[in-house]
Symmetry: C2
Subunit: 241 residues, 2 copies
């Protein structure tokens, strides 16, 4: 009676962990987010699937997911709760773990490759780089009651900023970072569909971000490292490579 909270990585099934791939192959039930869809092909065709990725960030819906996981956990079936990236980086894995614990259902977390680090890497951008960035901050652009990001304070740290789910709030984020002291010319890279064949990277600056067309899911990298171009000869894992 264990629910496995499993990170699916950035998208490329080759970037699942060995353990995640094995759990997914053996799962009888898979409860997944939209971001985890690219790796679903690894699950058994006979596994039951629950797509719960439609209302991301909605607390009432999250309570329903928690209840679903508890009920599934109690069936004794092999349950995998599959989340894009890592379950404990804006994946609400902690909330699901607490709900399962409260209900007496055992759980196990399997960390995944976070999109916050691997999406920039897929675009040739190291989130830290000696002499350029000595720290990296991962933050969500998603605005909900629970989130009170102090963008002005983040602007003062010198850390690379990686913003997940930031497409819709990008104008406000850029405005507040500049208000906090970042130069309008600060480089920004937006990586869409990282590590998938449809991956696309757009380079802009903070003052150009509002007018840059972006499709979700997108990972924003803000800071001097966003102007690095390590891919001049290098390449990155993509599906089927």
């Amino acid at each position: 009676m264990t629910v496995h909270l499993v990170g699916s990585g950035p998208g490329d099934p080759d970037l699942l962990t060995v353990r995640a791939a094995r759990l997914l192959r053996n799962a009888e039930v898979v409860v997944h987010d939209r971001l985890a869809e690219p790796v679903l092909a690894l699950a058994s065709p006979t596994a039951a699937r629950f797509d719960v990725g439609k209302h991301r960030g909605d607390s009432a819906y999250q309570a329903e997911i928690n209840t679903l996981l508890i009920e599934l956990g109690r069936t004794g079936l092999e349950v995998v709760r599959l989340k894009g990236g890592d379950p404990f980086v804006f994946g609400r894995g902690g909330e699901e773990a607490l709900a399962l614990s409260a209900a007496g259902v055992d759980w196990q977390v399997v960390p995944g490759v976070s999109s916050a680090i691997s999406a920039p890497a897929a675009a040739g951008i190291p989130v830290t780089h000696r002499g350029v960035a000595d720290a990296v901050t991962i933050v969500t652009g998603h605005r909900s009651k629970g989130h009170r990001t102090d963008w002005e304070a983040l602007a003062a740290t010198g850390a690379t900023l990686v913003v997940l789910m930031g497409a819709s709030e990008r104008a406000e984020i850029a405005r507040r970072l500049v208000a906090g002291g970042l130069a309008p010319s600060t480089p920004v890279a937006a990586v869409h569909d990282a590590t998938l064949p449809t991956q696309r990277t757009v380079h802009t600056t903070l003052d150009g971000l509002a007018d840059t067309s972006l499709a979700s899911p997108v990972t924003l990298v803000i800071g001097p490292v966003a102007a690095l171009d390590l891919t001049m000869t290098g390449t990155m894992t993509t599906v089927g490579a």
Copy 2:
């Protein structure tokens, strides 16, 4: 003629990515850091091994590693450069990529599960948690010429701080974070040998950190999430599990 810059994850071989495990099995040469040692058993017994983990952070030695990778890349052998965690999170992977590019040697990065996120997870700590922490900053405690971390500014952001390689500088880090406004009672968790059978977690506070005995490698988690205890019933992947 490709050098693979491969993240080995936090330690447990089961947390390698599928691609990393395959590359490691097929490698003819493995150049590894000390933190990558727990996964070396997956390499072929006939693979040549270079242990270059002795002088972490030394720039002259890093130049020697870069030269070694270039020379190995030119042999046409299957070369895996294996790094603990993720190559682009304080792994100097960016520097090695630039050196390889400059020498005309192709490279490919394979992101790994970062210890910055998975070590806390292994101790039951989500680095972000709704209503508790809306951002996480990853920083190195290692003091070298290239690093000029503004601890006071980081203290003001409200983000969870994850400090890699922070054992030796912990007194100074705690002092500066308190100077920057964090309460001396701010929870701190220190996770040693994360995801390995020897894993051990010590809980303390910022004002207790200097007097807390720590062994490297250790991941420090600083902030309210460090007091969360999701492992009351939950468990974490360990070697052999």
